[in-house]
């Protein structure tokens, strides 16, 4: 042996192995990562590969066949329900493992395990909101009922069957990049996934904290003007003139409400940093046979959510000898959520109802062990939250629980909050419920009665379930478990020491707004208020009015409707808000004060066709102008508190302007002169022109370039290479085709309930969560063009059809 050179080369070799085997911060261990045997190369699937396998598992009851078509949609044929959901769990894991793992960890306030210290405050907020508490309450309901338990157990076993046989080479690429490993599934994680949806859709539809600050600035009459309950232009979900039954419960306002609540002018500094997008919403509608060319109903739905890769949806067909359903499922939970079967079709939109209230809690002392309630000191219950943090020490957070729920904000939780006010959350999502069973029943419903029975127990998040059947029925129910409130209850923080401010009960289920086969032959919902002012309950919420107005008017004027007409309505770019606003804005603008350059923008706005098409410049001018106007009118008033009072909705401002052009709020209270509305609108336009000039210089004056519609990977800016940016589509949150920067129609579906059901659908993503698969994003171009895939409700005897590209057989071992 030549010792010196040997030692020298051995040192180099060892050092290389050690260095390449070691992760450095965000950089994974490069040797492992680059190894074509176990690293990222293993995620590069052969381009034309479609799964094909024969698998055996002891927990299966019989044989199940999964036929993958040319779009990688699985058509699952099982003999038993348990096998069906086992296989659904297996497929969700096979194609979306990182997604379901990440989403449920985030739902549980465990993001720090993957993301490190920067996620600690997010995790604390999730836990203090009681996300895990809510999921545990749901889990008890799920496991109480033997049928439900067996279905959720089967789903969990299916997810774990996949995870357990996963090799290092097969790990989804995100784990390789983040140097993490997947965690086994449980029914609790399914419950957490459903609570993630509950938060997405029923948290932030209240405005109690900022609203309390508004109350400290404005007089009661002003509050009614700024934040009205029923917009003038409302076209409600339940057609106007529907007669409502006398209310089964009449909640009573506390005697102290005037002094302790309505005229109490304290401000609140607490606020949530991680609120869902206020435009999480949707459209759905249904037209009856009398309005269609074929004489059969047509149902349409497009849920508007954050657009992500992989998508929140996974398309599939689930068939047993007694059931046959097609649609989209939510990876991480069993059943089909939006879809159709041989007899019916259904879709959902969000109710936008306020089901979350805050109560001020008075602790006896800093120990938080007791709080004052109905004249006595009541004990709190503590829940100790252990937050594990990647590359750092574990953080503990002790959350006090009261009769209302968790004390979300107190001295222990410092997210920029200083004032001594402890706030407990009363949230409908905390109450025990089992929403999954609604979908189990809907998947098997054959008629209107089955549909009503299926949705009856659905509690939170409140949804507008639209329905159509082969027998010609059309219907809609706004379904959820909604508190019966006395007028004004829960708009602001309430006293937490007096039970008369607690929820006194719930609106009886049969009194939820609904409509069956209305004479006009159509029904629609688009996140507007469900009913007009004759509905006998106080129902605050974050409603969006404009889309419903447009859809309602369009459907009312249509006859001989075809599915293609419904597709065109999905893609509708008409800006109904701008149609109402343009005359008021133009009337008030002082053209003589504009420069030549500004007049060019004004011309673009004046001559605009009111369509938010991708290449529209008028839409860009309008939106910048309108944002600037709202800011000029409100910002001076609203920023008198910090955090600021809530913005009046676009619809409220619009209606104030249309109704009363001498708007008293126009004056900028921060300046000595009194500005008129014309002053403000002219100034707002000039400010907007500065934004427009900058956009013009950047070549971004066209609407789609200004808006930059994009679908990001779940890890957002951490992985821009996995995203799709700059799609050529238009639309906006207030437009039927509700596309915003990274938000919009997450699934478009149209079902024609003709003799042989015809259906079309598309979502902006792909069936595979693997960025190394061509099925990762192959639907995006179809979605971008506004076209659809035909949805194929396959029959077992069609298994040799040319569309079938691969088969996985599951058997009992």
């Amino acid at each position: 042996m030549r010792l010196v050179p040997f030692l020298r080369s051995a040192t180099v070799t060892t050092a290389l192995v050690v260095v390449l085997n070691k992760p450095f911060g965000k950089v994974p261990a490069l040797g492992k990562f680059f190894s074509p045997h176990i690293g990222f190369w293993q995620n590069a699937e052969p381009f034309d590969a479609v799964p094909s396998a024969s698998l055996q598992f002891p927990s299966l009851k019989g044989a199940t066949s999964v036929y993958f078509d040319e779009r990688l949609v699985p058509h699952v044929f099982a003999q038993y329900d348990e096998d069906l959901y086992f296989v659904q769990g297996y497929l969700h894991a096979k194609f979306r493992l990182f997604q379901i793992d990440l989403q449920t960890r985030a739902a549980a306030g465990r993001a720090s395990e993957l993301a490190g210290p920067k996620a600690i405050n997010f995790d604390k907020e999730q836990r203090r909101l009681g996300m895990v508490f809510a999921a545990e309450n749901a889990l008890r309901e799920i496991e109480k009922d033997p049928l439900s338990r067996s279905l959720f157990d089967a789903y969990t076993s299916g997810v774990n069957a996949y995870i357990d046989q996963l090799t290092e080479a097969e790990l989804p690429i995100e784990y390789k990049l983040m140097q993490a490993t997947p965690e086994r599934w449980s029914n609790l994680r399914t419950a957490l996934l459903l609570k993630m949806m509950a938060k997405m859709l029923s948290s932030g539809t209240e405005n109690d904290l900022a609203g309390t600050n508004a109350k400290s600035i404005f007089l009661p009459d002003q509050l009614k003007q700024l934040y009205p309950q029923v917009p003038d232009s409302l076209l409600p979900i339940v057609p106007s003139a529907t007669a409502f039954a006398r209310p089964g419960i009449v909640p009573v306002a506390p005697t102290s409400a005037d002094s302790l609540y309505f005229s109490h002018r304290d401000t609140v500094e607490a606020h949530s940093h991680y609120q869902p997008d206020p435009d999480n919403g949707s459209n759905n509608w249904v037209v009856a046979g009398i309005k269609t060319k074929s004489g059969a109903p047509i149902l349409a739905n497009d849920p508007h959510l954050e657009l992500s890769l992989p998508s929140i949806w996974y398309e599939m067909q689930l068939t047993t000898p007694t059931s046959n359903v097609y649609g989209v499922s939510l990876p991480g939970s069993p059943m089909v959520v939006i879809g159709f079967n041989d007899s019916i079709a259904w879709g959902v939109t969000n109710s936008q109802r306020d089901v979350k209230d805050y109560y001020e809690i008075r602790f006896k002392d800093e120990s938080r062990k007791e709080y004052f309630y109905n004249g006595k000191w009541e004990p709190t219950r503590f829940r100790i939250e252990e937050i594990k943090v990647k590359d750092s020490t574990t953080v503990y957070d002790t959350v006090a629980y009261t009769v209302f729920g968790p004390v979300m904000f107190d001295q222990q939780f410092s997210n920029g909050y200083t004032k001594q006010m402890n706030l407990a959350v009363r949230w409908a999502a905390h109450d025990p419920s089992n929403e999954g069973m609604t979908f189990y029943k809907l998947n098997r419903a054959r008629n209107y009665a089955d549909y009503v029975e299926a949705i009856r127990t659905f509690q939170c998040p409140g949804q507008n379930f639209v329905f159509a059947s082969k027998t010609g029925d059309i219907a809609i129910w706004q379904q959820g478990r909604f508190p019966a409130r006395w007028p004004g209850q829960g708009l602001y923080v309430m006293p937490g020491w007096d039970s008369s401010y607690a929820w006194q009960g719930f609106i009886p289920q049969e009194e939820n707004p609904h409509s069956l086969n209305p004479e006009r032959g159509f029904l629609q919902s688009a996140n507007q208020r469900a009913a007009d002012s004759t509905y006998p309950y106080f129902i605050p919420g974050s409603y969006i009015t404009a889309r419903g107005v447009r859809i309602d008017k369009q459907l009312a004027g249509m006859n001989q409707i075809t599915p293609q007409d419904m597709m065109a309505l999905h893609q509708d770019y008409f800006n109904t808000s701008a149609e109402d606003l343009r005359p008021v804005l133009l009337k008030n603008i002082r053209i003589d004060q504009l420069t030549g350059n500004e007049k060019v923008y004004l011309d673009a706005f004046t001559n605009w066709d009111l369509l938010a098409t991708p290449n529209s410049i008028g839409q860009t001018v309008f939106q910048c102008f309108w944002d600037s106007v709202q800011s000029a009118i409100w910002k001076d008033e609203l920023t008198r508190t910090d955090p600021m009072a809530p913005w009046p909705t676009e619809q409220s401002t619009l209606e104030l302007l249309v109704r009363d052009s001498a708007l008293s709020f126009a004056d900028d209270v921060r300046t000595p002169v009194i500005e008129s509305l014309s002053d403000q609108i002219t100034l707002a336009f000039k400010r907007a022109c500065q934004v427009l000039d900058a956009e013009k210089a950047a070549g971004k004056l066209e609407w789609s370039k200004h808006m930059n519609p994009s679908v990001y990977h779940l890890l957002k800016d951490a992985l821009p290479a996995f995203a799709h940016k700059g799609m050529k589509v238009g639309g906006y949150g207030n437009i039927v085709n509700a596309i915003k920067h990274s938000h919009g129609p997450s699934w478009r579906m149209i079902v024609h309930l003709s003799e042989k059901t015809e259906a079309w659908g598309v979502y902006p993503g792909g069936q595979s969560g693997n960025p190394g698969s061509r099925f990762y994003d192959d639907y995006i171009s179809v979605w971008e063009k506004g076209t659809y895939h035909p949805l194929w409700l396959m029959r077992a005897e069609e298994k040799d059809d040319a569309r079938i590209k691969g088969v996985i057989e599951f058997k009992k071992s």
């Binding site: 040997f6 192995v17 590069a44």
Partner: protein, 118 residues
């Protein structure tokens, strides 16, 4: 001839050892060192045979995977790692990492058996 044998042995053991998850990703380093010791040639040739053997083993496999994948993933990864989206660069680096490790390992093997300086 010896060079070709050493290269081929390194290439094949590199592929074979990657097929089982029982051996860590760097298992080929041991094999390359053994080849360097068993196949007697000059230090430079030992290094080169090890380097080229694994460069082709890893680089070749990466290229084959990439070809079948139509560079769908490599283009994305070559943006995650700042390589300007170049699949070729990614394949080259893959080969280079394997090659360097095997080259130095072969050198270890060579010096372990070498008796005296020439």
């Amino acid at each position: 001839m010896k060079f070709a044998v050493a290269l081929l042995l390194t290439f094949l053991t590199g592929l074979a050892m990657g097929m089982t998850s029982l051996i860590p990703w760097w298992g080929f380093v041991v094999a390359a060192a053994l080849v360097g010791a068993i196949v007697r040639q000059t230090a430079a040739k030992s290094f080169s045979a090890g380097f080229l053997g694994m460069f082709l083993s890893w680089g070749g496999l990466a290229w084959w995977i990439d070809w079948q994948n139509k560079s769908l993933l490599s283009q994305k990864i070559a943006h995650v790692l700042p390589l300007g989206g170049s699949a070729a660069a990614l394949i080259f680096i893959t080969g280079l990492l394997g090659g360097l490790l095997a080259g130095f390992a072969a050198l270890c093997g060579y010096y372990a058996r070498a008796t005296s300086s020439k």
